[in-house]
Symmetry: C2
Subunit: 218 residues, 2 copies
Amino acid sequence: MTSQQDLLDTLALVGKALGNGHRLALLERLAQSDAAVEVLADTSGLTVANTSQHLQHLRRAGLVTATRSGKQMIYRLTDARTLTLIELMRQIAYTNLAEMERLVGQLFADDNADEALDPVSRDMLLQGLKTGSLALLDVRPADEFQAGHLPDAINIPIDQLEQMFNLLPKDREIVAYCRGPYCALSHEAVKRLREKGFRVRRFAEGYPEWKAAGLPVM
Amino acid sequence: MTSQQDLLDTLALVGKALGNGHRLALLERLAQSDAAVEVLADTSGLTVANTSQHLQHLRRAGLVTATRSGKQMIYRLTDARTLTLIELMRQIAYTNLAEMERLVGQLFADDNADEALDPVSRDMLLQGLKTGSLALLDVRPADEFQAGHLPDAINIPIDQLEQMFNLLPKDREIVAYCRGPYCALSHEAVKRLREKGFRVRRFAEGYPEWKAAGLPVM
DNA sequence: ATAACATTCAATTGATTAATAGAATGATTG
DNA sequence: CAATCATTCTATTAATCAATTGAATGTTAT
């Protein structure tokens, strides 16, 4: 006999999978692009064996799928709705957990400073790209950029910004984006480029949101 | 220094809270109505002390709030979006976990039987209530009914159906509803009432969904 | 005040989980 | 087919979690 509780226990597998910071980080990384275990271990700062274990956990919960490609196992998100799920968790946590609000506020402290980062909306960005009045800068690591990015974006990973900022135009406004609304990379880029005299603003979303909205990607 | 990982660790608190079948059951019970610890312990089949512990856990994650009323502590959902969150988890689990699909299929095996339960949509129900062509039956326990129910519904808790079915009309079609789309009570009611010769169908949603849609409640 | 009641706390036990290290597996390369 | 590489498995340890019990707290009724 199947009880309601069996069902909730199975559902709890999904909750358990989401109940660990490292696994959430892995899911967010996978939102950027499919990736092999070693890559995921690198970006999450875990050992390969440990990363593999966490991925098994996510796989048992049905959130990721793995396929072999040569000697690598390529992991991908099974369901795009998983990102919506995490975003909803974030919103709920933000409204109801003081700690969460504090952390987000601290991470994005610059937004409240005198020189606000003044984010660009999706519509403004689309308009600016059409008229050519904006230059678009992707500050994510090269591999994530290559796996998919916004049309006409230039890729300068944040850790190469100092060497490569001369690739950017001084005559047009620049819009920087990264992994998503809670990714700090574009904040950092705006701050640093402004110090060098560029006109820069931040796009408040990231590549996964753009793609999920059905907008063209390259 | 705040890192992205601190944020994800805090977010994982919410995931952890959702990572236990009993806690999910508590949240679903709270979707029906605010309730005291003893009531929650009763419906979840846990001891009072254990229920209290789980509620503390949910409280730390910001998902429930408690206020004292006399000697009782009344717990309530902090955020209506939590139900959306659980529903989304359910959908993702259903599509990606074979085990989940199997359990749901088993629980609602009757839906696939010869005499399908033929669920009524929200629009059909609204229409039928307006014209008076439908009688509405709420088969949840009396306390949940009293805390809030659909307009014009008659309450006959499922365990009193045998004694009280004569309250129901034979000349009109009856629509039974309960806690939500995954609650088995209305399925059971339809099955039993059909055996007694009533014309009954099931409303595929429940009280929380009706209320969340902004429809009138009593 | 005292008793009764609802809930929480504290301590304990067993179960589950996370991380580590090293061995084992599967696939490719020379 | 031996060597290499990427990943997974196994065993171990420490940490966290779930459930139980009995005591402690706060509130109401006598």
